[in-house]
Symmetry: C2
Subunit: 490 residues, 2 copies
């Protein structure tokens, strides 16, 4: 987990300042709702020595009324008294009460990791303890607790620098002990043990958030964002039928549809023809390579009605050997499909190795049309973000190339194209009353799409935006993206 | 899991016949409710070769309308076509639709176990696949599926005998192939791999049931009992707030309160004095041993009002060094306790190693008074059976001796004692209006107690009944039980 952790780039100082302001306000705004809902919030801080856990805890609690939180400093081995109880005992004693926060300055992870590194815990004992922790965390969640877990991550170099700085200062040198030095010296071995634990204990009810802690304000912002997101979900779970599970995968930050500039994304006919020709040739070759190397490719199209999905797909397939690909147009599910897990009809349409399947509309219908038309419960679509990420993770682990396109146009462009379809006899079949009805819900859909992009742009299956007011531009960008993504695995 | 599997003794032929009749009727009775609830039921049969999976499947389906079930025969390695999809693909294709059964004659376990034994799967690949299976099983349950998993267990000797018998018969010899012979030859290695998988994949949403398959009718009965119990829970989960998890621990069969004969459980004063004296001496010595060996002991008392808990506890404590034990009378929780996980107030009252804590009433209040007085939701107390088993498992893994007493009297005896308390000034403090109110709910409580005994008599923390119409008898039995249980660990 720690090893394949994709570090996302640090926002500008201004952006950090702006967002810190937002998230701090959001957290203190949550206080009362947490109290009213009687939600106990348990926040675990773990990570490398000198990663700045304490400093961030100090900043986070400033946003909370002192009556509503306590900090539990557990950053020490159990004393002789505590050793005479189950290892969980001293932590469980500290769990928060309903409506209050409890911040753990290191928790059960630290004790176990040290045990493994010092050789005090056998592999079997380690497995037992991780199991016990997974059980108690699940029990806490089932009984209405929010459990949020942060791992503060810094590089070996950064840690060394910080330890040195602390040591050199008279009034901080006491904070550096031999264990810290040892950890930096054996950074890689610790990395292995951390990574194993984070993976074994990474549960969707209580996921691990890796915090990039090289920059302190950025670290605070990440903590606040994840904490607020967790609180948001937990407050919903108080009425949820099945608990909404949190994302446990590294995410890209895609941004909102409204931030996408469209007008400047155009191509002349000359540029287009030239590029199209060149790129289709290239894709044709790659298609053969993919076939020979038995790599499965999944291309998923979502986008507004009349955004130009069909024409875009044609430009991809035109380059491919008809025996190697299939296009799957996804309409509303058949009765025998509706009667099964909503991902079943996509599982059964997967390409085999060496083949390419292009989905014209996809499993994301769950969090768009099914959400907005009420075809599933709120709990179903809320849960779906995590389930879909798990589904795509499974496919990427299998070795599939996953390319997800959102084809974007603005509302006026859609109107123009609808009207054109209406008035052109040979295009009329393309426009239905439903298209007009959906159009009326544009804003609702835009909100759902933004949430979808935010919650399903994983590092292993990110979304790609195709700006399609100029369809030529979108087609070229699609071809380029497919080519780049395939190249990555060849 | 397979290794510490405690084989419970086979009922008499008559009892098997009687219960088979019941459970078969119960299953076919469930059919329509399953259809109405739209519950998809997925039943996995795994286990040793020649353990009789197919035979039992054949019997189970006789109780179900052919339109409502299919059998998926997956007992083979994936073919070349299937190898070109994710390993889950060929199984997921077979999942049942809403309201129907699908019986898998071996499923993803078999493929993985073979891969490990043949060395085709590395440790890392094994872990990944188990993780994928845990995720998909969780997703299926979250989306309303019932997943029931049976492992058919027979001894090496029995397997050898059956393979030989099959081989010798002309028309069955084809059913024995080299892999079966190999499995019997390397029985212990297979045992290791099976055990590891069953442990790694034993989830409370989809637990593993080990079926003792040495006797075929007994095997069928176990399957029907677990299947019906799973269906029962799944039908409740359709309206559950948080899914009710199923028991994943080996159970004792305790029987019902109404089956307990009381009148014949008596002692003369002479017998009593003699025994009491002898046993208290013995317990005193054991108490010291426990202290020196640093073994924690937990004695839990539950029982009817006026059953004689207090006097019974006194006879135990009288034998112990006051510095080594504490009695915890459990009343309704304080506000600061109510505000936390309901087991918190018991976690924080645990004995330390070498000490003995006697709980006068316990965490089982959750599934008795809190259930019947509506102090928690149905979902809360339904979930509690599993949570309590997990709690006690944690304590027994820690090394604690756990002794659970149910102090049993009949309704008339209680009335006599209530009246006596009423009419004896120095006893009046012992009787309250609440006692009388509870007494009116005797039958409700008896039902709750029977369910509690059935669902929490685990192999590691079974219930002991103290027949207490003759309090002398109950006290002696309590002393003997405590002595026996402590001796087991010394």
């Amino acid at each position: 987990m720690l090893k394949d952790y994709a570090k996302s780039e640090i926002p500008s100082e201004e952006e950090i300042t702006r967002k810190l302001k937002e998230e701090r306000a959001r957290l203190s705004g949550f206080q009362l709702r947490i109290k009213e809902a009687g939600l106990p919030v348990m926040v675990l801080f773990e990570g490398w020595s000198a990663a700045g856990k304490g400093a961030v805890i100090g900043k986070v609690i400033r946003n909370i009324d002192p009556r509503f939180f306590k900090v539990a400093a557990m950053d020490r081995q159990p004393n002789d008294e505590e050793k005479r109880y189950p290892f969980l005992y001293r932590y469980i004693r500290e769990i928060p009460e309903a409506g209050k926060f409890r911040f753990f300055d290191t928790c059960w992870m630290e004790e176990i990791v040290d045990g493994v590194v010092d050789g005090r815990l056998s592999g079997e004992e380690y497995r037992k303890r991780v199991h016990s922790i997974n059980v108690i965390e699940r029990q806490l969640c089932d009984n209405g607790y929010l459990v949020v877990k942060f791992f503060f991550h810094i590089s070996k170099k950064e840690q060394k620098k910080r330890l040195k700085a602390l040591k050199s200062e008279k009034d901080t040198s006491w904070r550096v002990d031999d264990d810290d030095i040892k950890q930096n010296k054996h950074y890689d071995e610790f990395m292995d043990v951390f990574d194993r634990y984070l993976t074994d204990n990474n549960q969707s009810r209580a996921p691990w958030y890796i915090i990039d802690a090289e920059n302190k304000r950025w670290a605070e912002l990440q903590v606040l964002e994840f904490l607020n997101q967790g609180i948001d979900i937990a407050l919903q779970n108080h009425t949820a039928n099945v608990p909404i599970l949190q994302n446990i995968f590294p995410m890209d930050k895609p941004g909102k549809l409204s931030d996408i500039s469209l007008s400047d994304k155009t191509l002349t006919d000359e540029e287009y023809d030239l590029e199209l020709n060149r790129l289709q040739k290239e894709l044709a070759e790659l298609g053969n390579k993919v076939y020979r190397k038995k790599i499965p490719v999944i291309i998923a199209y979502e986008g507004w009605d009349a955004a130009g999905k069909g024409g875009n797909i044609k430009r991809i397939t035109a380059a491919l050997d008809p025996r190697d690909f299939v296009v799957e147009p996804i309409a509303s599910p058949e009765p025998h499909e509706k009667a099964r897990h909503y991902l079943w009809r996509f599982w059964t349409r997967l390409p085999k190795t060496g083949h390419i399947t292009i989905f014209d509309r996809t499993w994301y219908g769950r969090v768009m049309v099914e959400r907005l038309e009420g075809f599933c419960t709120e709990n179903d679509w809320q849960r779906a973000y995590n389930e879909i990420n798990e589904f795509e993770k499974e496919l990427s682990e299998w070795g599939a190339v996953i390319i997800k396109f959102w084809v974007q146009i603005d509302k006026d462009t859609q109107l123009a194209r609808f009207t054109d379809r209406q008035n052109t006899p040979e295009k009329q079949w393309k426009i239905t009353d439903e298209d007009w009805r959906n159009r009326e819900k544009w804003d609702l859909y835009e909100g759902a799409v933004d949430e979808m992009l935010e919650k399903t742009s994983t590092a292993f299956a990110p979304w790609h935006i195709l700006e399609s007011v100029d369809k030529k531009y979108a087609r070229i960008k699609a071809l380029k993206t497919v080519i780049d993504e395939i190249k990555k695995v060849l």
